[in-house]
């Protein structure tokens, strides 16, 4: 197939006229099947199930991409800007709760993350990690790591830790659209 003919998009500028002034949300593409919301849920469930049959993991990245990722908190040395330690904050995961399923870390907990091995590390703690010195700071400016999702949409791990699989943003968005917190 070639693209030699003009696109057929119908009357133009309808969407542009709907844009809200003063804000521009991230453009979203959600996978659907015909049949409405119930089909959307079915499609999303199939997407999660298929991905979990062939689990994948991806290395941390310096910026977000088209996979479902989380930005790590880090204790950063202000002297040379290097990362002393990296962390997942449970409270951040609560926004991804669907169907009442608890994520792998509850909202009052933190867990270390070893960037080099792309894995959760150490024990779960319930106090905020301490920067250990005024020259260091705790900030959410670390690498982006994949979150692992099981076939029912529960967050079950990060990086290579835990069961489930990494999923594409479109798969997660489709699932989240058809479910409730």
């Amino acid at each position: 197939m070639t693209d030699s003919n003009p696109p057929d998009l119908g009357p133009t500028d309808r969407a542009r006229r709907r844009l809200v002034r003063g804000a521009f949300a991230v453009p979203a593409v959600l996978t659907l099947q015909s049949g409405g919301a119930s089909a959307a849920t079915s499609s999303a469930a199939k997407c999660l199930a298929n991905q979990n049959q062939n689990p994948v993991s991806f290395a941390p990245t310096s910026s977000d991409d088209s996979y479902f990722r989380y930005r790590l908190w880090v204790i950063r040395k202000k002297t040379d800007n290097t990362i002393d330690s990296a962390w997942v904050r449970g409270a951040d995961l609560s926004v991804y709760v669907r169907n009442g399923q608890m994520p792998f870390l509850d909202s009052s907990s933190w867990q270390g993350f070893a960037i080099a091995s792309n894995a959760l590390s150490g024990s779960v703690i319930t106090t905020m990690p301490s920067p250990n010195g005024a020259e260091n700071s705790l900030e959410q400016t670390g690498p982006w790591v994949v979150l692992r999702v099981n076939s029912t949409g529960a967050l079950v791990g990060a990086g290579v830790s835990g069961s489930g699989s990494s999923v594409a943003d479109t798969c997660w968005n489709s699932f989240a659209l058809g479910t409730t917190a």
């Binding site: 197939m1 070639t2 693209d3 030699s4 003919n5 003009p6 696109p7 057929d8 998009l9 119908g10 133009t12 500028d13 309808r14 969407a15 542009r16 709907r18 844009l19 809200v20 002034r21 003063g22 804000a23 521009f24 949300a25 991230v26 453009p27 979203a28 593409v29 959600l30 996978t31 659907l32 099947q33 015909s34 959307a40 910026s63 977000d64 991409d65 088209s66 943003d169 479109t170 659209l177």
Partner: protein
């Protein structure tokens, strides 16, 4: 990088979102208004650079172009994966 709309793509409003059919994938996807606006721009302007799309949408919404550029950063991959957009380089290759 120039982006172009795939021939035969169709889009219709669906409540607060937009249903969009791709003739390449044979599937219909749901877009939010921001994603639909990108497709409209490509339909009206033909092959367009990401910088130009960001500039026009920033003007439409009266927001900072840096914010729009950041928001668009991963939209292109998703629109291409959905069979709605192609890079213009790919189009030229197909015409040879």
């Amino acid at each position: 990088m120039l982006y172009r709309l795939v021939e035969g793509a169709r889009i219709e409003p669906l409540d607060v979102a937009w249903a969009c059919f791709s003739p390449l994938s044979g599937e219909t996807v749901l877009l939010n208004t921001e994603a639909a606006a990108i497709l409209e721009l490509l339909a009206n302007h033909g092959p367009t650079s990401d910088d130009t799309v960001a500039r026009i949408l920033a003007a439409d919404t009266r927001t900072d172009i840096a914010d729009v550029t950041e928001a668009l950063r991963h939209a292109w991959d998703q629109l291409i994966a959905a069979g709605l957009v192609r890079t213009d380089a790919a189009h030229e290759y197909q015409q040879r």
